[in-house]
Structures are given as C-alpha cells and as structure tokens.
C-alpha cells in the first residue's frame, strides 16, 4: 500500500482486515472523538472513590438533611426553609458552583455532583457487563442455532420468538420486580436483591434475541461457505470448525453489535432504575438520580437534568462509535432498537 522506503517487513504483507478496519476507524473523526468522550467519562467515574470525597467534602451515600455548609464565608443550611407565611416546605440547596454541592443537593441532602460520578460507575459497569454477557449468550445461541440447524434451531428460534413477542421493557420490568421481591435463590446460591448482578443478567437476557438473530444469519451463511464445507469434508470435528472457522468470522458482527447493545443496555438500566427496580438504594446510578430528581423537578430541576445529560452523552458516543465500527468493518445488519 505504501511506497515509503522505511516500510517494515509487516507492511510488505497485505494488511489484515482488523488493521484495515482500525485504520479506517482512525480516519473517522467523530468516532475517535466519541471514543475519547467515553474514555474520559469512564475514567472520571471509575476513579470517583479516589477524588470525589476530597472535592465535595461530604459522603455521597450518607443522608445529610440536618447539616450545613460554609458558602462564601456564610453558614448555609443544606435544607433551606421556604420563606412563606405558613413556613411550608423545605428545599435542598441549589447549585453552588463551588467544590461542595457543585450541582446542589438532593432530597436527602447529598451532593448531586458526587453522586453523579458514583452513579456513572454503576451505570457504565452495568451496561458494559450486560452488553458483554448478552453478546456471549447471543453468540452461543446464534452459533448453536445457525450451525446445528434442525430441531435445535427450531427450539431456539421459537424461544427467541416468545421473548421477542413481549415488549422489551415490559419483559425487563417483570423480571426485575420478581427478583427484587426476595432476591434470587439458585440452589445453594442466594443473590441478594441489591446485587448488581441482577440488573446485569436481566438486561443481558432481554437483548439476547436482538443480538442472536444477526449472528444466526451470519453463521447460516458461513456454514454453506466453501472453506467450512471443505473442513467438514476433511473430517475436522465440529467443535474445531466452530472455534477455528465460524467464531473468528462472527467476531466482526459481535464487535459492531457491542457498542450498540451497550447503548441500549444503558438506556434500559436507566429506565429500570428510574422505576426504582434497577440499582437499589443507597447505591446510585444515573437512572436512580433521575428518579431522585423527579420529586424535586419543580424546585431543583438540576437534580434530574444533570444525570439525563450524562446518559445522552454516553449513549450518543456509543452509537457514533458503533456506526464507525460498522463502516470500518463493513458489516451490514438491520440494526434496530426497541422502545
């Protein structure tokens, strides 16, 4: 490709598909920028325990309604009484634009900015893990259905159809409500209802049909491909064919689906937490923060607006990145999301 004199030995070989993709992705400025935004937000929230406390000067998990802070040399109550004839109602302190209570307090007197960082940790963690889990499950289901065909394909496809016929969010909400009521008992293992594994598994599960379909289609096409036929004729065991020939060729589909599924998982997680059946208190996620802000929307809208903007930023970045990957890897699929 290049005629430069300093071409190394590797460059003389034709570049592999992954290197080509990387190169084309690097040229896609919006995708690179999105990746930067994602990495920045991920680091900022993952490292929150190491710096947030020292900036905010409060513990974002301890209620602090009866406390007060120093602001511009004056002591200010965190819950401020309203100035009306009947002394009705209290409002949490609004954005101070200082280190502590940068974005104000929520109804429990906790620092919203600090909770935004901790909430981001959980939101990103859950969406990343559930996207990864979803892809693994979808790969297993898709390859099994596509490669084995026959009765296996029929059973798996019917199951996917059943899952597909219930609206995604309704499905996730039902599962959450049932598991939340008393945790999950799997034989000797008990998963407590406030364990993050629950939302991760639930969200991963509901998006499996979404990811398994394109994978199954791709595997079915590959099964008829010449090199797979050749391997079969040579008597290569099926598991080796799957590992050596099928899986590497499905990977590009998985990579493209990754960011898109993570974006959908993040939206699903925030919706569940917003309905207070996702991440359980006192832990936070961006969805629970929006839920906290709902009761204050008229007096302190910032409590709900800030986490919403964070969600939009991350999901947008993931979608742009997913588009960039698709163009780079030249994978066509009818990506489409549910409401």
């Amino acid at each position: 490709m290049t005629h430069s004199t300093s071409a190394s030995a590797q460059d003389t070989r034709p570049p592999g598909p992954w290197r080509m993709a990387l190169r084309s992705l690097r040229r896609n400025r919006s995708a690179v920028f999105s990746l930067g935004v994602l990495v920045f937000l991920a680091i900022a929230s993952l490292l929150a325990p190491y710096y947030a406390r020292y900036v905010a000067h409060t513990d974002p998990f301890v209620s602090n309604v009866a406390g007060s802070i120093m602001l511009n040399g004056q002591e200010v109550d965190i819950m401020q009484p309203n100035d009306n004839l009947l002394h009705l109602g209290l409002s949490p302190i609004g954005p101070t634009w200082h280190g502590s209570y940068l974005l104000g307090a929520d109804s429990q007197g906790r620092d919203v900015a600090a909770r935004l960082l901790y909430g981001g940790r959980n939101s990103l963690l859950i969406s990343f893990c559930s996207a990864a889990l979803c892809l693994v499950l979808a790969a297993v289901v898709g390859i099994a259905a596509g490669f084995c065909g026959g009765i296996v394909d029929i059973i798996l496809s019917r199951m996917m159809d059943i899952m597909w016929s219930v609206p995604v969010y309704l499905f996730a909400i039902s599962l959450s409500i049932v598991t939340l009521s008393d945790g999950l008992h799997l034989g000797p293992f008990i998963i407590e209802s406030d364990n993050l594994i629950l939302p991760i598994c639930i969200i991963a599960l509901v998006y499996v049909p979404y990811a398994a379909r394109p994978i199954r289609g791709r595997v079915m096409a590959l099964r008829e491909a010449e090199f797979v036929m050749a391997a079969r004729c040579l008597g290569v065991p099926r598991w080796r064919i799957v590992l050596q020939d099928i899986l590497p060729n499905v990977t590009s589909t998985l990579v493209v689906l990754g960011p898109l599924i993570m974006a959908m998982s993040l939206l699903a997680e925030s919706a569940l937490s917003f309905l207070s059946i996702g991440v359980q208190a006192p832990a936070a996620s961006w969805g629970t923060l929006i839920q906290d802000g709902e009761g204050l929307i008229y007096t302190r809208p910032m409590v709900a607006i800030a986490p919403g903007l964070a969600i939009v930023a991350v999901v947008l970045a993931l979608n742009i990145l997913g588009d960039g990957l698709r163009d780079a890897l030249d994978v066509r699929d009818a990506s489409h999301r549910e409401q």
């Binding site: 159809d161 999901v315 489409h336 409401q339």
Partner: protein, 324 residues
C-alpha cells in the same frame, strides 16, 4: 395459505400458553405474593382469611387454579383483581386501550411523516452537511431516554414556561377522551406524541436513508437512470417504494409492541392511564389477574401484528413468497 394460517394459530396458542403458565408459576413462587391477607383486609381473623381462601380458590391445586383463571379471563371474562376487590380486569383493559391507541397512533403519524421526509432528504443530499446534520439529529433522538425527555418537556411546558404565550395552552397532565372533547384530546396528547416519536424518528430516518443509499447501486435504479428519469423522481417513485418494504415490517413490529404496552414509560411520565401504565401498576401491586390479563393482551396483540406484517410483506414483495 390455509396451512400457513393454521400453523400461525397453533404457534400463537403455544406462545400464549407458555407465557401465561410462566407468569402463573413465577407469581406463586414469589414470597409474600399470597393475596389472601390483602383481600381479607388488615387484621382480619383467621376464619375470614379462610373464607377468602375458599371463595377465591387459593386452597385448590395450582393447575386447577390456572385453568379457572384462564376460563375466567377468556371465556366468562369475569376475572376480578386481587388488589381492588371486585374490580373486573377485562373491562379495565378495554378502558385503557383507547388511551394507548390514541397515544401510539398520534406518535406514529408524526414519526412516519417526519422520518420519511428526513430520510429521503438525507439520501437525496447524501454527503452534504444537511445529510450529516439530519443523521446526527436522528442519532441524538435515539440516545435520549424517553422518560427523561418527558420529564424535561413537563418541566418546560407545565412549570417554567407555562405562563408564557408559548405553552399557556398546555392542559394539566392526564387524558381527555376524544368523545368528550376532540380539541382537549389533541391538546392533552400532542406533547406525549412528540416525545414518544423522537426515538422512532431517529431510527426510521436512519434506516430509510441507509436503504435508499444502498438501493441506488441496484440494477433497476440504474436502468431508470439510464432511461433518463430525473433523480428526484427515481428516488421517490422507485427507491422509496422499494425501501418501504423494510419500513413497513419495522413499523408493524414497533407499532404492535407500543400498543401492546411498550409505551409504558411515556404513559407513566405523562400520567396517561393506558395499557402500559396499567401493566406497570399491576406488576408493582403483584396483582396476578391484572398482570395475566395485560400480558395476554400484549402477547395477543404482538402476535397478531406479526401475522399482519407478514401478510403485508407478502403483498408488497413477491420475492418473500417465493423464498418460503
């Protein structure tokens, strides 16, 4: 054709049985879900609890209870709620359905019109800044959580700017039946419509643009171009028509899922007493009859809609028929 229809029917019954049996089993496995004490009322004596248990048949084997519930739901239609004594669930769904249908139909009109306009325009101006801006707007629409968008819309129209000329017409949250006042119905729903449509405008305009761009390389478009037809005419007469096949199947699924209860977040945020909100309430109350009824309603609707989409598909695209 008849065989296909019969097979569909068989599959539908199988799906419905699977879902209902699952819901039923999960409910009775959930601790604290025994509705006897809730129905009997607080501090009811053991004898009153026993009376309730007998009356509702909770002392009978689970398969019998399941059969009775299915009979009451589908045949006699007198299944009563466990949470609100004496409240029949079938009429409750019949009352909620028009709300959801009003919401989803209005939103569908908006998203179909806007996304066709956006998608076609972007495809026609492929590679220009207009194309990029429109597609970025679509992507932003996909990325906004609908419940948050609804909250912000409420904040703006109900509170912050409610007293200005722009939003003073916005009524209090809630639903106004069309039969009661068509104008009130429109005013109450127009903001929920827009909020619900935003996501789908993003999805559909992007899908449509991608299809149109892909089609422009196909033979029949090239032929049309060779015949000397104007580019815009080709795009609309030939490209759009073909791209509609994907569009319609996508639309059928989404529409069915939304009417089947998928619009629940929008309904919850805007206080619309539709099927989605009803389902959500039933789930939070662990009110089995209502959960069963709403889930069945949703599944029936989605399965029927799938069948309808397949039929339309057959009519629109003969290739599909041959492939089967």
């Amino acid at each position: 054709m008849l065989m296909a229809a019969l097979r569909r029917l068989g599959q539908t019954v199988f799906v419905l049985f699977g879902i209902s049996a699952l819901v039923f089993a999960v409910f009775f496995a959930t601790p604290g879900a025994d509705p006897t004490a809730r129905i009997a009322g607080k501090n009811a004596s053991p004898q009153t609890m026993q009376k309730v248990r007998q009356e509702y048949g909770f002392d009978r084997p689970l398969p019998v209870q399941y059969a009775i519930m299915m009979k009451k739901l589908f045949i006699t239609q007198d299944l009563a709620s466990y949470a609100d004594r004496g409240e029949l669930v079938v009429p409750e769904i019949i009352r909620a359905a028009p709300v959801t249908v009003s919401l989803v139909c209005g939103a569908a009109v908006i998203w179909v019109v806007v996304s066709i306009a956006m998608g076609t325009l972007a495809a026609a101006l492929k590679g220009t800044w207009i194309d990029r801006t429109l597609m970025m707007l679509g992507l932003i629409g996909i990325s906004i959580p609908v419940f948050w968008l609804g909250q912000v819309a409420n904040l703006i129209t109900q509170n912050r700017y409610h007293d200005t000329w722009l939003f003073s017409w916005v009524p209090a949250l809630g639903y106004v039946p069309f039969t009661q006042s068509p104008w009130g119905w429109f005013k109450a729903l127009v903001i929920p419509w827009v909020v619900l449509a935003v996501l789908f405008i993003g999805v559909y305009s992007r899908v449509l643009r991608a299809d149109l761009v892909a089609l422009s390389g196909e033979d029949f478009i090239r032929t049309a171009r060779a015949k000397g037809l104007s580019p815009s005419r080709i795009l609309i007469r030939h490209g759009l028509r073909t791209a509609m096949v994907t569009f319609v199947s996508l639309f059928g699924m989404d529409f069915a899922q939304l009417v089947g209860g998928g619009a629940l977040l929008t309904e919850v945020v805007f206080g619309l007493p539709g099927v989605g909100r009803l389902t959500y309430q039933a789930l939070t109350n662990l009110d089995l009859p209502l959960i069963m009824a709403t889930v069945m309603y949703s599944a029936v609707f989605v399965v029927l809609a799938n069948a309808a989409v397949d039929m339309i598909y057959l009519l629109l695209d003969p290739r599909v028929r041959d492939a089967r």
